[in-house]
Symmetry: C2
Subunit: 375 residues, 2 copies
C-alpha cells in the first residue's frame, strides 16, 4: 500500500486529515459547486474581485446567490463566521476573515464572529476553560487586525457572552434530537453531554442578528468546508423557528508547509502563526516543502511542479496579488528558470513584511478590543 | 386486575405517578433511610424540631449527617433547592421551601434556589421560553413568601442568570458521558440535545457557592426524592472537579386532594395553588377525597381511616402543628366521633386563612424580588 492510498481523507468539524478531495466533499456534503456568476455578482457589489475569488479559494456554497439577491432587493443581510480558540492563529485562519472584511464592505453587512471556547474546552481533555477563554481574547486581536469595521462587527465568546446566546441556543436545541445530532456529527455514547449540546450553540449564531434586530435577516457564513455539518443541521430547523436557512460559502484549506494536508496549529513547524517572530516565520518558509527538484541542476533541467508546491500555494492564496506575476512565476518554475531557493527567499521576505505589518495592527487592536465585543 | 395493581409506581424527575412506595424507592435509588439521630441533631441547632421532621416527611438522605458535622466543625455549609417553573405553585411545593427556611436559620446557610426554566421549556412541547421565564419570576414570589432571608438567599433562573452558571455547567458536562446520562435518566435517541445537556446545569448548582466563594462548601439539597437521579450523577463527578459530594435530604410528596398520588399542578382541581382565591381553595377542600364512610351514620358506627385520607394528610403535613391535637383528631376519626364534613370545614378555614396570609406576603415579595435574585 502506498503512502497515498493509506492517506484516507477525514473532514469533520473536529478533524481534517489526509489529502482533501474537494470534489468528493462537495458530493458527500451535498453542497452546490461554485459557479462563475457568484464571484462576478460579489465583485459587482465590491467594486473588484477579491483575489480569493479569482483564485478559486471558494469552491462551493449553499444559497449564496439567494443571499446576494436579498441584498439586491434592498434587504439587510448579515455575515457569520467564527473561530475555535484552542491555540494561536495561523495564516490559514486569516483567509476567511480577510474575505469577511471584503464581504462586509461590499454588502454593508453586520458580522457576528463566534469564539467557540466552550466547544474547544469540551473537546480537548487537556484544555482548561481558562486557557480557551484566554485564546478567545488573544485570537480576537487577530480578527480585528484583519481590518473589520468595529461598528458592524460583533465578536463574542460562547462562555463570556452566554447571556446573549443561551435562549436562542435552547430554541435550537429543542428542535434537534440526539438521533439527528448523532447522524450529522457521528456522536457516540462516550461523548460528553456538553459536546452533544454544543451544536445548538454553533447553530444559533445563524439567527442571532435576526433575533437581536427583531427581523428576519439572511445570513451568509464564509468558513472552511469542514464546518458544513453544522449548517446542514441548522438549515433543517431554521424555518421551523421562523428564520431563513443560513447560506454558506466554503473555503478550501490553506496548505501547510509540510507535505500535503492543511496548515495545522497542531504541527507548529508547518504553520506560520501571526505571533511568530518574523525572522522565525521566514525561516519556516525557507524550510518548507516545495515542488522543486533535489538539486539546482535538476531544477534547471527538468523544472518544478507548482501543483504540489506549498510555497507556490502561499503566493497563490495570500502573497501574490498580481495574477500576471503569479502566472509568470508558475511558468518560470515549470521551465526551470526559477529555482526554489530564490522563490522561497522572496516569499520569506513577503511573509516577514506581512507579519511586521500585521503584528502592528494586532498591537493596536488591543485598545480597540472592547469596541468589537458583543454588547 | 384491581385499580391498585394497575397503578404502577413511576418516579423520575419528569414524572411521578402511581402509588409511591417509599421503601422501594429507598432501595431502588440506593439512598440512606432516615434515622432518628438526624432530626435530633438538626433540632439541636435549630432550637426546635420542625413539624416536618417530627412527622416523618423526610424519609431518606445521603450524607446529611456529614453535612451537619461539617457545620459543627465550624465550617460554612450551604443549601440548594429549586423549582421547575412550568405553572403556578401549589402547597406541595412549599413544604421543602419552608424546611429550607428552617435549615437556613438553624445552620446560618446560604441558599441557592434554581429556577429550571430551560429544563421546563425543553421538556414541554407547548411551553414557550417566555412562559417558562414568566413562571420563574412569578414562582419566585412564593419562594420569598416562605420567609427566607434575602441576605442569604440567591434565587436564579437558568436562562436569565446563565452568565453565572454556564462555565461551571461546562465543567460538569465535560465529565458526564451520554452513556452515563442515558443510564441515569433513561434518555433515548429521540430526546432533544437540550434535555441531554440540562443535567449538567442542574448538577452545577451543587458547586455554585463553592465556585463563587473560592472554597469548598458542603452543600445539602432538601428536595423531593424524584430529583435523586441528578444527585447520583453529581456525586459521581464531584470529587473529580475538586468539590465535596452534595448531601441530600429527601421529602415525601404531599398527597393531592384526589384519590392517591401527589398533589399535581396538572390536575388543578386536586391542588391548592398559592394564587387560588381563598374561597375557591376552601371549596376544593370541601370536595376532597377523605378516608371517611359514605354516610354520617356509617361514619359514626364504623369510623374513618386517616391512613388513606387526604384531608388528614393536610393537617399532618402542614395545618396541625400540635402533635397532641393531631393525635386526638386521628383517634376521633377512627372512633367515629369526628365526621368528615366537620373535619373538612375546619381544614377549609385553615387553608383559607393560610392563603390570605401567604398572599399578603407574596404581594409584599414583589418589592423585595430584586434583593433575592442572584447577583
Amino acid at each position: 500500500m502506498t503512502e497515498r492510498e493509506n492517506d484516507e481523507m477525514v473532514v469533520t468539524p473536529w478533524e481534517v486529515r489526509g489529502t482533501v478531495d474537494y470534489d468528493k466533499l462537495i458530493e458527500q456534503f451535498g453542497v452546490q459547486r461554485m459557479t462563475p456568476d457568484i464571484p462576478e455578482k460579489i465583485a459587482s457589489h465590491a467594486g473588484f474581485m477579491h483575489m480569493q475569488l479569482r483564485r478559486g479559494v471558494y469552491i462551493s456554497h449553499r444559497d449564496t446567490d439567494w443571499w446576494i439577491g436579498e441584498h439586491e432587493k434592498g434587504n439587510n443581510v448579515g455575515l457569520y463566521t467564527g473561530r475555535g480558540p484552542s491555540g494561536h492563529v495561523h495564516l490559514g485562519h486569516l483567509l476567511p476573515w480577510f474575505f469577511c472584511k471584503y464581504l462586509q464592505d461590499a454588502f454593508d453587512a453586520e458580522l457576528y464572529f463566534q469564539m467557540t471556547d466552550d466547544e474547544k474546552f469540551l473537546h480537548y481533555d487537556e484544555l482548561s476553560l481558562e486557557e480557551a477563554i484566554g485564546y478567545t481574547y488573544d485570537n480576537a486581536l487577530d480578527v480585528i487586525a484583519c481590518g473589520l469595521d468595529a461598528e458592524r462587527t460583533h465578536i463574542f465568546s460562547d462562555t463570556e457572552h452566554i447571556q446573549h446566546l443561551y435562549k436562542i441556543g435552547l430554541r435550537v436545541a429543542k428542535r434537534v434530537t440526539y438521533s439527528t445530532a448523532k447522524a450529522v456529527f457521528g456522536f457516540n455514547d462516550s461523548d460528553n453531554i456538553g459536546m452533544i449540546w454544543y451544536p445548538a450553540l454553533q447553530a444559533m449564531t445563524c439567527f442571532l442578528q435576526s433575533d437581536r434586530e427583531g427581523s428576519n435577516i439572511p445570513c451568509l457564513i464564509p468558513a472552511a468546508i469542514d464546518q458544513d455539518p453544522y449548517w446542514r443541521m441548522t438549515r433543517d430547523i431554521a424555518e421551523k423557528l421562523g428564520y431563513y436557512k443560513p447560506a454558506q460559502i466554503h473555503a478550501k484549506f490553506l496548505p501547510g508547509l509540510g507535505r500535503g494536508g492543511k496548515m495545522s496549529a497542531s504541527q507548529p513547524e508547518t504553520a506560520i502563526f501571526t505571533k511568530d517572530d518574523p525572522d522565525l516565520a521566514a525561516s519556516k518558509v525557507i524550510g518548507a516543502f516545495t515542488g522543486g527538484q533535489p538539486t539546482v541542476q535538476e531544477q534547471r533541467e527538468r523544472g518544478g511542479d507548482p501543483g504540489i508546491c506549498n510555497v507556490y500555494a502561499y503566493y497563490y492564496f495570500l502573497f501574490e496579488e498580481d495574477d500576471g506575476a503569479l502566472k509568470r512565476m508558475e511558468e518560470d518554475c515549470r521551465s526551470g528558470a526559477l529555482i526554489c531557493g530564490d522563490c522561497k527567499a522572496r516569499l520569506a521576505g513577503k511573509v516577514r513584511a506581512f507579519l511586521i505589518d500585521f503584528q502592528e495592527k494586532r498591537e493596536k487592536a488591543k485598545d480597540r478590543l472592547d469596541d468589537f465585543l458583543l454588547k
